[in-house]
Symmetry: C2
Subunit: 341 residues, 2 copies
DNA sequence: TGCGTCTTCTGAACCGGTTTAGGCAAACCT
DNA sequence: AGGTTTGCCTAAACCGGTTCAGAAGACGCA
């Protein structure tokens, strides 16, 4: 229970060597004979010594922890399973290295910036993950100024010194639109995510492009904040118009599921009266009715890639960008041939 | 950018006093004259000094961080918005104190126990939140042995030295069952959560009780792991029987939403053919069709209460249990009068 | 005036590692 | 043989705070 915690001095004394040598042996650095190294490690093992993280932190000026600051309305956060999966993915690479993840959930951008500053001035973390990239993201110059290694989740639209993990959403959106067109849809609308968020505006641009490439006129788009409530509102507006779209492409699954609910509520059949597609392929999509046609993404792959990249960056001082394979369309029941085109 | 980080020694030199006195002034402890204190703090301010968390950690043997270890399948984790809200609640009390939250998401119980051990042996955290309480929870004796302060989320079924934050699920479940009975339902089934989890088995017991108190025969119950997939399976089994229930009480909302999907898929109308209720009132419930009748709980209140209690426990050595107000039934469209009772 | 007490403050030890300058042999030159 | 290199190791400084024993001065009191 309360054994007086064995320290490096105990190990050194027991082995009849200096503290320094124990330290060298532990971090296997040159200048220790093979026998000594083995003997020291054996004694450390026997004494049950684990080097004090705190002491190590102080002398090495590292904290052995990585940070993730999430600035989202808890409500939006709750309906989006991205982060749990992402974090689970990150952990698979952090845990074996003995690194911890420090998580902050903050309500607004101002608090967010303050949080980064205090993470740094407290020396709480050795690096951070930058998620939900925004246009002209102020966090990038901030972190650069603070000298904190970072990895961005998504490709920034500004000059950035940090490696990024990104995936091109264009093919997924394009595939969705082409699929809908092949089913006979001509009036296709888009419920976009937040235009302030890069993946929000990029998915929207991909949607516009796909339509024009198919030679169709621009479709209706409604901007939202990615929340379920906003998705429902948008769906209601679209579907109660004089001549409503026959298909709606939602920028994420939670909004699409809300759209499904709205369609049902309005007495519309899905997909006969309106086709609905989502984005992300969250767990729910398989179990709503009709099951949601959507684009599969892999948040835990993001996590793993981001974790590895950040580790590389910190160890090597540089790390290459990672391009994750684009999401593919998963065809289920929520999109079909329009009854009245 | 890379100012050579001002330390306590700089402040002491500038103020013409000893390091010790600066430390005393900072932690406002007796033995410092009012003038000195003011002058020192002013100089600290001017120099932009923030005491090094790392040095502080080493000498005080505290880490100024709290831990949360989540042992859940990422898939289940993703569809349940409890943790994001809970964490947001926790942060509101940690952040002002300068405390950080260290999060671990682990795949299984063995890793979980190992994680607690290493959090302690690394001195990574000063206390932890124990969520998803299980029967005869092995984490309680473990943490007791490790001497780590903890707060349990839910009332343990064994002797526990830790304060707990709990809410009685019984009234919510009972209210739901009574409501269904009042609508005319007699064959009511329950899709229970994991029996290994305390809230899973307690909600089930509440269900059984409510039926027997109403003088009805025991209803069907199916155990699940709280996952969306399991909820869908259970619903399918229940609804494809010879004489299916007219109402199903699900132990959480994600499963209930899956149940809604299954009912639709089977061509059943909700609530005419089958009524469905959930538990937790997650964001989605308002936007599925029909909107889900469920029991409202407040995860961020749990977070705040748990945070405060853990702080009290660490500061005072003891803290009282907290009983959160029981969840109330929120009536929406998914439950109604059975057409064929 | 002398003595005890209180307040304010200092110096040094301490937390538990890492790191650097340097000592001492043994091995390697030529 | 003498000088240099090399390998292994030690002692001490250092990271930046906290804490404790005790010094110095102010004050009260007999």
């Amino acid at each position: 229970m309360s054994e007086p915690k064995v320290t490096i001095a105990d190990v050194a004394r027991e082995a009849g060597v200096s503290k320094g040598l124990v330290s060298f042996a532990l971090n296997d650095r040159p200048g220790v004979s093979a026998e000594s190294r083995i003997r020291i490690l054996e004694i450390a093992e026997r004494l049950g010594w684990t080097p004090s993280l705190r002491a190590r932190s102080l002398s090495t000026r590292r904290s052995f922890a990585l940070g993730l600051v999430i600035a989202r309305d808890p409500e939006v956060l709750g309906s989006d399973p991205f982060f749990p999966s992402f974090i689970a993915g990150v952990e698979t690479v952090l845990a074996p290295q003995g690194l911890a993840l420090v998580l902050s959930v903050v309500p607004d951008e101002k608090t967010e910036m303050r949080t980064y500053r205090s993470l740094v001035s407290d020396g709480r973390v050795d690096g951070v993950f930058l998620s939900d990239l925004r246009h002209n993201d102020p966090r990038i110059p901030l972190l650069q100024e603070l000298g904190l290694p970072a990895v961005t989740l998504g490709r920034p639209d500004t000059q950035s010194p940090f490696p990024c993990i990104s995936v091109d959403d264009t093919p997924g959106v394009a595939e969705t639109v082409r699929y809908l067109i092949s089913l006979g849809h001509r009036r296709i609308a888009h419920v976009a995510g937040s235009p302030a968020l890069l993946h929000g505006s990029r998915r929207r641009a991909a949607f516009d492009n796909a339509l024009s490439e198919a030679g169709l006129p621009a479709g209706q788009s409604i901007e939202t904040d990615f929340s379920v409530a906003a998705g429902a509102d948008a769906a209601r507006r679209l579907l109660t118009q004089a001549s409503p779209p026959t298909a709606i492409v939602f920028a994420n699954d939670p909004m699409a599921i809300a759209g499904l609910g709205v369609a049902h509520e309005l007495g519309l059949r899905v997909p006969d009266d309106v086709s609905i597609t989502g984005f992300d392929d969250i767990d729910f999509t398989r179990y709503v009715f009709p099951a949601l046609t959507t684009v599969r993404t892999a948040p835990s792959d993001w996590g793993r890639a981001a974790g590895r990249t950040l580790l590389d960056l910190m160890a090597l001082g540089t790390a290459p960008d990672v391009d994750l394979p684009a999401g593919r369309l998963v065809i289920r029941g929520s999109a079909g041939t329009p009854l009245r085109p």
